[in-house]
Every structure is written in structure tokens, then in C-alpha cells.
């Protein structure tokens, strides 16, 4: 934290029940090295206790605090204020797109969680199956068993909010779900193949790659969808030549 103080204006999306959405303005003095979530929490603590938003871990593990900050999807617990505005600037805070708003900045992501379960995405898996991202110190392998780790995808929903196709097509599974299917693997899994190898699955993606741009973890959903397509094409070619697998 620095001694420097910035004056910023928070323009926060508000919507309760069946009210029409509007924006409320809050002027705050902040440390530019604080995170955006800290500023939102301060609005709740000192200005308006009716502000609703989701958050939990404060260290990018739970994926609860995704919001749109100045028109870009951000995991607000790890984005310093100095990265998204300047002294005297504005922070426009809105809920994630493409999920129904429950109240203010909190959205209902039940459809994402249900689809992730449907494709068999594993939240915990062996390190050998999902290596650490580049730059992370490798862990020495245990004598017999592999270490387990939390999966890269934290199910924050940022990718679905940023995806232009998810905005206009409700049945589309979306980037996180398709990346989850790729993590699970298609080999010998005809049910999963049927679920993703269809018009509202991997073929609905139009390769805008906004999912990869906003992903705060190491998932690269856009790349995963392309890998899924290649796997599906391999399966189709195998079937063409009589393989039953």
C-alpha cells in the first residue's frame, strides 16, 4: 500500500426487484493500490448498506466477485484501482452480463454451475492432468501418488459475460462449460460428445476470443474450445473409418 490518495467516483449499477436499473454515484478517497472490491465494500460499509454484491475469499479462488469495471469483466478482488482508472477518474461498476440480476451487482449463475456439473468438470484434479501455469515453481512429485490441485477454472462467469454469442443465444453452453468438457475429455464419453458436438455447443463459438481476454485464471477457454473441436473432428474421422470407440 502507498501513502498516495486518489479521489475517484464510483458509478454503481443499481436494480432491486422489478425496479428499472439506474446508477448511483459515490465519491471516495482511495489508495490506488487497493483493489476495486475494497472500494465497493467501502461504499457498502460507509455509504449505502442496501448495496448488494457477491464476494468471499478476496484472493481469486472462489470466483464470486466478478463484475464489469469500466466496461470490462474483472475479478474485482485482484484488480488494483490504479489499473482501471486515474486520480479524479470514474469507476463504472456493473453486474456481469448474460446472467439474470438478483439485486444490484449480484447475478444468478445457477445455469453455469448446473452446466459445469453436466459436463463433468472437476474442481479438484491431479497436478499431472492440469499443470501449473507458466512461471509457477514446479512441485516435486511424491513417491507414488500425484499431488492434487484446484482446477484453473474458478467458475467466475467472466468469460460468459464477455462472450458476444452468449449475449444473444440463451441455449449456448458458453466458454467455461466447453472448457470444462475439454478438461473432462471426449474419449469414450458419447454422452458428453452429444452434449457439446451440436449447434448450441462448440460449433456456436464464433471465435471472438473475449473469453480468453478476460479469464483471470489460466484456462484460456477460447483455446480449449478449439481443442475440443479438433477432438470431436478426430472422433468423427475415426467413426468414418469404422472405429466403434
Amino acid at each position: 500500500m502507498s501513502e498516495t490518495k486518489w479521489n475517484v467516483t464510483l458509478l454503481i449499477y443499481r436494480q432491486k426487484g422489478s425496479q428499472s436499473p439506474h446508477y448511483d454515484t459515490f465519491k471516495l478517497e482511495v489508495d490506488p493500490d487497493e483493489y476495486v472490491l475494497d472500494a465497493v465494500e467501502r461504499v457498502w460499509a460507509f455509504h449505502d448498506r442496501s448495496l448488494t454484491f457477491a464476494h468471499a475469499c478476496h484472493h481469486s479462488t472462489c470466483g464470486a466477485c466478478g463484475m464489469r469495471v469500466n466496461d470490462m469483466e474483472k475479478l474485482t478482488c485482484i484488480v488494483p484501482i490504479r489499473d482501471v482508472t486515474a486520480d479524479g477518474g470514474t469507476l463504472k461498476i456493473e453486474p456481469l452480463r448474460n446472467f439474470p440480476v438478483i439485486s444490484d451487482l449480484a447475478v444468478n449463475m445457477a445455469s453455469l454451475y448446473a452446466h459445469m456439473e453436466q459436463v463433468g468438470h472437476r474442481a479438484v484434479l491431479p497436478l499431472s492432468e492440469e499443470p501449473s501455469e507458466p512461471g509457477v515453481r514446479p512441485v516435486a512429485k511424491a513417491a507414488e501418488d500425484d499431488y492434487i490441485r484446484l482446477a484453473d477454472c474458478i467458475e467466475c462467469g467472466l468469460c460468459i459475460s464477455a462472450c458476444p454469442i452468449s449475449a444473444a443465444s440463451a441455449p449456448y453452453l458458453g466458454p467455461a462449460v466447453l472448457a470444462g468438457a475439454q478438461q473432462h475429455g471426449l474419449d469414450g464419453n458419447s454422452d458428453l460428445l452429444a452434449l457439446v458436438d451440436c449447434a448450441e455447443g462448440m460449433w456456436r463459438c464464433h471465435q471472438a476470443f473475449e473469453c480468453t481476454e478476460v479469464c483471470p485464471s489460466n484456462v484460456e477457454p477460447g483455446l480449449k474450445i478449439m481443442q475440443l473441436r479438433q477432438a470431436a473432428m478426430r472422433q468423427r474421422i475415426k467413426h468414418l473409418f469404422g472405429s466403434k470407440k
Partner: protein, 131 residues
């Protein structure tokens, strides 16, 4: 019952063209949509114009005089530019979808295709306006 104004809906198609906060891949996607719509519109106009030619030699001569006007040539250049971009972006989409991890360099391929589109459009523009 939740109010679903923020939910996915086919009426949100206009968000395809909202590039606030978006990156190169989304610009490529948006340009692909715009050029596709432009090319379809051109095809429809082209068929209507060809229908006029069936009215006889007089109609043909009048039509040729109209399309020699610089405004028409400028529109034709837009069609050429849209055709070049749309075709090259199609190649990019195919490469990225079916060739290994090409998705990791999709931005670089987009910039290269965009540069070729601009150079190609300039080439044809000079030819069309100086012929």
C-alpha cells in the same frame, strides 16, 4: 421471479457491435459480421441491377453510365475490401479452429490478415480510380 433484463436473448444481437472494452478478436468478429451483411446486401442489389439489363440496350447503356460515376466506384471498392477481408478472415477462422494451438496466435493472424486486406484494397482502389 427474477427480472431477466440482463439475461441472454436474441434481441441482444446489437451487443455484437458494442466494442467498448473489447479486444482484437472481437473486432475481427464484428468486422466479419459487418462485411457479411454488406456482401449480402451487394448481392441483392447486384441481382436487381442485372434484372434491369433485360429491359433492352437503352437500359444497359443508362446502367453503365450510372456505374461509372465515382460514387459507385467508391461503393464497389467497399465491396472489394469487404470481400478481401471476409475471405481472409475465413481462412483465419479455419486455421484457428482446426490446426493445433493456432488459437494462441489468433491476434497476430488477424493483424496480418487486416494488413493484407488494407494493402489489397489500396491496390484495387488505385486501379479502379485510375483506369
Amino acid at each position: 421471479m427474477l427480472k431477466n433484463t440482463n439475461s441472454p436473448s436474441s434481441s441482444n444481437w446489437w451487443k455484437w457491435f458494442d466494442i467498448r472494452g473489447r479486444a482484437a478478436g472481437d473486432v475481427a468478429f464484428m468486422l466479419n459480421r459487418i462485411t457479411a451483411l454488406g456482401l449480402v446486401l451487394y448481392l441483392a442489389m447486384h441481382l436487381v441491377a442485372l434484372g434491369q439489363l433485360a429491359l433492352g440496350p437503352g437500359a444497359y447503356d443508362t446502367f453503365v453510365q450510372i456505374v461509372k460515376h465515382p460514387v459507385f466506384i467508391a461503393f464497389e471498392l467497399l465491396v472489394v475490401a469487404a470481400g478481401i477481408y471476409h475471405g481472409l478472415n475465413g481462412i483465419r477462422i479455419g486455421l484457428v479452429a482446426f490446426f493445433g494451438d493456432t488459437a494462441t496466435v489468433q491476434k497476430q493472424i488477424f493483424y496480418a490478415m487486416l494488413a493484407i486486406s488494407i494493402l489489397g484494397s489500396l491496390f484495387f482502389g488505385i486501379r479502379m480510380f485510375t483506369a
